[in-house]
Amino acid sequence: MKNYNFAKYDGFILWRCRVSKVLVLRKISIDSVENLIRKKSVQSPTRKVPKHGEQNRDGTETERSYASLVLRFVKGQFHEYQESTIGAAFLTQTVCLDDTTVKFEIWDTAGQERYHSLAPMYYRGAQAAIVVYDITNQDTFGRAKTWVKELQRQASPTIVIALAGNKQDLANKRMVEFEEAQTYADENGLLFMETSAKTAMNVNDIFLAIAKKLPKNEQVTGPGGSGQGRRLTEGDAGSKATGNCCK
């Protein structure tokens, strides 16, 4: 079985993008939906991104459009004025695909890309990425292309990349033609859809399309599996009695 978990790449990425965003997805397990129980009532910590004039407007915009797409997917919610970025490491979501379910971890760039300082750790083990741009802004499309190039250069060669033209609900203010993006996506072997976090159009579909395109990995790579390392959790803390030297 080909091991596609092993993303390897160079250290240092110098983005030049402000508005378009990338989500990196990891298919972490094939699991039954029932296992995904979400707790409620704890809120996101406030992100305190210092304001810096005009440029921030761009940044916030995007983060909003990015965050809203994820939120729409994960929670089925859309908020016009939400926190600029999610105050979490990543979100998880499960997609049902025929008789199996695919659980995604959705990682945020956490703002590190703003000054071209995205940590290489971000790509480790990434199996899919969604590059989001805003169809009402031509610049964001240009930057989305830069992200795609970076992903092709830095991430695992088998990574599945999807291009999402977001804010489809504002199609009357469209600056990026559907055909233009479709052609670009075809040339680069990307999945492509126009989405709307506001109306939920294509949001589930794009994640489903990705799940379908991911290489089938029968052997679930749990802790200590061949290709992947282990996540350290308290749960792993087996009793000290077994296998111990003393007593």
Binding site: K8, D10, V42, F90, S117, P120, R230, C245
Partner: protein, 537 residues
Amino acid sequence: MDYELPTEFDIIIVGTGIVESIVSAAASRIGKTVLHIDSQDYYGGFWASFNLEQIDKLCERNQNANVDISADVQLNEGERLIQIGNNNFDLKNTSQKWSIPEKLELKDVSENVEGDNCDVTETEADNGTGTEEVWTQEKLMRESRKFNIDIAPKIQFARGDFVELLISSNIARYSEYRSVSRVLTWLNGELEVVPCSRSDVFSNPKVSVIEKRMLMKLLGACMDSEENEFKDYKIKTFHTYLNDKRLTDNVIHYVLYAIAMSTVDTPCSEGVENIKRFLNSLGRFGKTPFLYSMYGSGELSQAFCRLSAVFGGVYALNQNLGGFVFDAENKFKGLVCGKQQVIKASHLVMGIEKSPEEFVKSVEVSYISRGIFITNGSVKGSEKEHLTLLFYPLKGGRELCNVIELGTLTGTCPKGIYIVHMFTKQINTPKEDLEECVSKLFQSEKEDSDVKDARPQVLWSFYYSAPDTNTANLRKDVPENAFLCPGPDCDLDIDYSIKKAKEIFNSMYPDVEFLPRAPDPEEIIIGDGSDEQIPKK
């Protein structure tokens, strides 16, 4: 156009080493505004991991890249601008060597049909017949990106402070680890597996039944550390204690050099503490008490940086740093970024190599002798790939050399290749200090074609002296609201660095919790209109 950085923060952190990154995460976590900045274009500073191309050129690198002395800023009365960075803590005695040809010789190439297919043909042949792969510099360089070579390799104890902190702060989810799969030592001229667990002890054919009993009894005594047991050894060495127990030489060797990671000079109490730490970490994540971070030790600082960023920390690498501004009372005021921008903050934390010369002039430095080797096989071959930790007693047991062997499953090198790290306290030069161990583990340079040497061949080697500033007093000569972070120490783990980071954090923010648990993704609900709450533990 690039973004301009914001102009005011609670705290500015210069350098992305482990200690700096932990402080950054802890400060962001409690809601402080943090600017985490580095003049280098990579994360990790002295703790970084590099690909082959980068490490091959490491010696040419300027440690103070991007430090600008031509800043032109308006200073207030009494303020002065101090240049960032010093050259007191560079790597020394660097020596690098390729032991394989740059390219295949002509006749070898002509055997393949086409130059471009060279790679495919070789690997196919290799899979089919199992013949030994021929490595060239060119071939390794083509796989440069598959390398993540640590300049400060670290191994963690499964129940050490680092792992506990990762779990309690919820940073553990960012990165992946591998268990060290075997612990070796050099005994009677051979590499031997150190029995770690009870079952190891009993299944080890080299340990006699009597020795098994001795070993179990001894470890039990150390674990309980009854006062009577050790009361006569307050000023004696652990070696003396073991000798007095009338153990066999083999048992003494396993306990002293491997389980207690000691030398013949280690005090008894320290040896006992080390044994406790070893035993406590057993049975948690794998067969041995040790863990290694996937993709190299350079990932460690990135995990903390990520938490800092998630909680609002602003990250800017590869920045031109023009200097620090201090006022008449010698209080840190701000950082000059680029030629003109002054960024203000009430605290400054910096890696020791970023410190102005005047703060570190009396800092005493000791050195660690380090060697990195790229080899074509494991030091002790086996069916399955191992992640190996070897304790090699040097100079008749007066020093201990730590050896870490990493294979492709750790995400640090391509298939068929191993990376071996060695380090020990520096006495002479790195080459001289490590020679004893190197000559035993690897094929000798002078090839003797008559004798088939089964040991791995060194393809590339790199020796250097790394500065250790952990015993120095880093508060002397340093202004009150500025803090220096030491680089890597000679320990196997990073627990001491965590302690240092905590000290710095507590000096700035006393009585505030250090890295409380971050919420899980599932615990976060965004924007339902009610008031913001700080997630509870």
